[in-house]
């Protein structure tokens, strides 16, 4: 408004000055007369001066205000830019589309608004990206820790046969530092030909038809450690049938191999033990069938031999079944409260009257009373019978077999003693192992499978007891069973 008023006054002043010029009949004379000290014309000249100067001043003021108003808007825009640059919150309430500021400033204001919005978007995206990055880092770390914590060696190989990741477990398995494996050619770190063959199958140009899935190999030539490596191809990109890398799992299977060998040996041993008496029976039956001239004594000997072998087979199968049940945990104990004194007397007398011990003396020493204990009566009878039968079997003519029991404050102890052939020191440490039999001729000439004492140990163990042996070669043996008097053996329920 001021600007318009100034322009109007300036225009009026200009018109007045022009009229006065016309009245003076010549601008040159008029100009020359300005500085003339003529009193009559000073009032008119002053008026003329005012008519010229005032509009100029007014115009200048208006122009100045116009410029300032523009500069103020630019200053505000500048302030916002500085704030943006300094990453401070801008005053978004500033009006940038002031009609007085003109189109360029308005456009610049819009540009800054746009920049500001873009900056906010970028900041928001940056924050999200940062958060995602943290999450990814955490997940990567977590995945790495999981792979490191795995009990197996883990190795990731790309399609070119270069290893891109290994966990620390690999070091203890293949005895190579992870740093020597990652990004190094297969041949430079792997010394095992079986593993090289397995991994080479998964290099880019190897034929898929020749690919192996797993390999079992020795850790090194002088090691008993057996390793198992399996390969699992993976594809990162979908819709591509070919894999981009393989995950290799290497684990120590030494214990499994050992167990497998043990199982195979067990099966072989059992088969042999079953076949031997059958072979003997077969031969005697053949003899009886095909030889009509056999005398009565030979026939009876043959039949007795067959009977012995049948008993041997029955005992073997019974022991095997009991051991299998005990080892697999499928045997459910049928515990009951047993009068131990009566139980020991019964078992002892049964062995005494078995008919194989006519020339032996038997001695039973039991205290006047024994605490009743919770046992599986039939199973415990098998254990005690095995000990007493061994005392009879590995005895000498005129020898002695004794069963003794005692009760202390904490336990009940049962002794089975004999003064037979005895057990040498080497055999004593192994007599409770399955299928272990002494090489002593006095032992090998008698029937047996090496299962009786193994079964005794298992039966005593599941009754929370211990069994041990003391023996001297040629002097006899003492087997000692100790059952602790505790909740397991004294309470009513199993």
């Amino acid at each position: 408004m001021i600007i318009y008023t100034s322009i109007v006054i300036a225009v009026i002043g200009g018109l007045m000055a022009f009229n006065h010029y016309q009245e003076q009949q010549g601008a040159i004379q008029f100009q020359g007369a300005w500085f003339m000290p003529v009193s009559q014309s000073s009032t008119r000249q002053l008026l003329l001066f005012m008519q010229v100067i005032v509009p100029i001043l007014l115009l200048t003021t208006a122009f100045y205000r116009f410029i300032i108003s523009k500069l103020n808007t630019i200053d505000r825009l500048n302030d916002r830019l500085i704030c943006l640059l300094n990453d401070k919150k801008t005053n978004t309430g500033v009006q940038v589309n002031d009609p007085n500021t003109g189109q360029p400033v308005t456009a610049m204001g819009h540009l800054i608004d746009s920049l500001e919005n873009r900056l906010k978007t970028l900041e928001s995206e940056s924050s999200r990206a940062l958060a995602s990055n943290h999450v990814l880092s955490y997940q990567r770390r977590k995945a790495d820790l999981l792979l490191q914590a795995m009990p197996y060696g883990v190795l990731v190989m790309d399609g070119d046969g270069l290893v891109t990741y290994v966990n620390q477990k690999i070091k203890s398995l293949v005895s190579v530092e992870p740093e020597q494996i990652v990004d190094h050619p297969l041949q430079s770190w792997c010394k095992n030909s079986e593993l090289i063959s397995l991994l080479s199958c998964y290099k880019g140009n190897a034929s898929p038809l020749q690919r192996l899935n797993f390999v079992e190999f020795k850790a090194n030539e002088n090691s008993n450690k057996t390793l198992f490596a399996s390969v699992h191809p993976f594809s990162i990109m979908e819709n591509i049938p070919e894999f981009q890398g393989v995950l290799v799992i290497i684990r120590d299977i030494s214990e499994e191999v050992s167990a497998r060998q043990g199982r195979d040996e067990f099966v072989t041993h059992v088969a042999h033990e079953l076949k031997s008496p059958l072979n003997t029976v077969h031969m005697f039956v053949d003899l009886l069938l095909n030889d009509s001239e056999l005398d009565e004594n030979t026939r009876m000997d043959s039949l007795n031999s067959i009977k012995d072998q049948m008993e041997r087979l029955t005992g073997l199968i019974s022991n095997l079944l009991n051991i299998a049940k005990l080892e697999s945990g499928t045997l459910s104990l049928d515990k009951e409260r047993v009068n131990l004194k009566e139980f020991l007397e019964d078992t002892f007398n049964a062995v005494k009257k078995s008919g194989r011990s006519e020339d032996l003396s038997f001695d039973l020493k039991l205290p006047s009373s024994l605490n009743a204990i919770m046992i599986d009566k039939e199973l415990f009878r098998v254990a005690l019978n095995n000990l007493l039968s061994n005392a009879v079997k590995y005895n000498r003519p005129g020898g002695r077999v004794s069963l003794e029991a005692e009760e202390t404050g904490n336990s009940i102890i049962i002794y089975v003693r004999d003064n037979g052939i005895g057990i040498n020191a080497v055999d004593q440490s192994q007599v409770f192992e399955k299928f272990y039999r002494s090489d002593e001729q006095e032992v090998t000439t008698k029937n047996g499978q090496g299962l009786g004492l193994a079964l005794v140990k298992q039966i005593v163990t599941i009754h929370y007891g211990t069994v041990s042996v003391k023996s001297e070669k040629g002097q006899g043996s003492e087997f000692r069973i100790e059952i602790k008097k505790d909740l397991h053996t004294l309470r009513q329920t199993a």
Binding site: H272, N279, M283, D286, T444
Partner: protein, 129 residues
């Protein structure tokens, strides 16, 4: 009585008893041993014409007894019958490498046993004649 000796080596007393019985009835001269160690000693000492041995025995196994016998006395060349219910390939392979060692799966019937022994003695008699 046939003067040529047949040595039976087995840790099963019943097997030794029945084979001895079968062969003695045909007047063969029988010696027995209950493990490879005893079998080796008797083989060196008695120089039997035929050795019939089990495989799985305490102290010394049948094949080991044969190896030591062949190694220590290469000039001594009896017929060796390795009898076992086991059928490991190593034993069969090892047996196949020796012309005078044969493998027989247990149980050996009395008829087969007598035939085997009789064939050996008749062939050696023919060679000598």
């Amino acid at each position: 009585m046939n003067s040529q000796i047949i040595l039976l080596v087995d840790d099963e007393p019943h097997i030794l008893a029945i084979m001895s019985h079968i062969l003695k009835r045909k007047n063969y001269n029988i010696e027995t041993a209950c493990n490879g160690e005893e079998g080796l000693q008797k083989a060196i000492k008695l120089r039997p014409s035929i050795i019939i041995t089990d495989v799985q025995m305490p102290r010394m196994k049948g094949p080991e007894m044969c190896r030591q016998l062949l190694e220590k006395h290469p000039e001594f060349c009896p017929l060796i019958v390795v009898a076992s219910s086991r059928t490991e390939h190593e034993i069969r392979d090892w047996v196949s490498q020796h012309s005078h060692i044969v493998f027989k799966e247990k149980p050996i019937s009395p008829v087969n046993l007598l035939t085997l022994v009789a064939q050996h003695f008749s062939s050696t008699t023919l060679v000598r004649a």
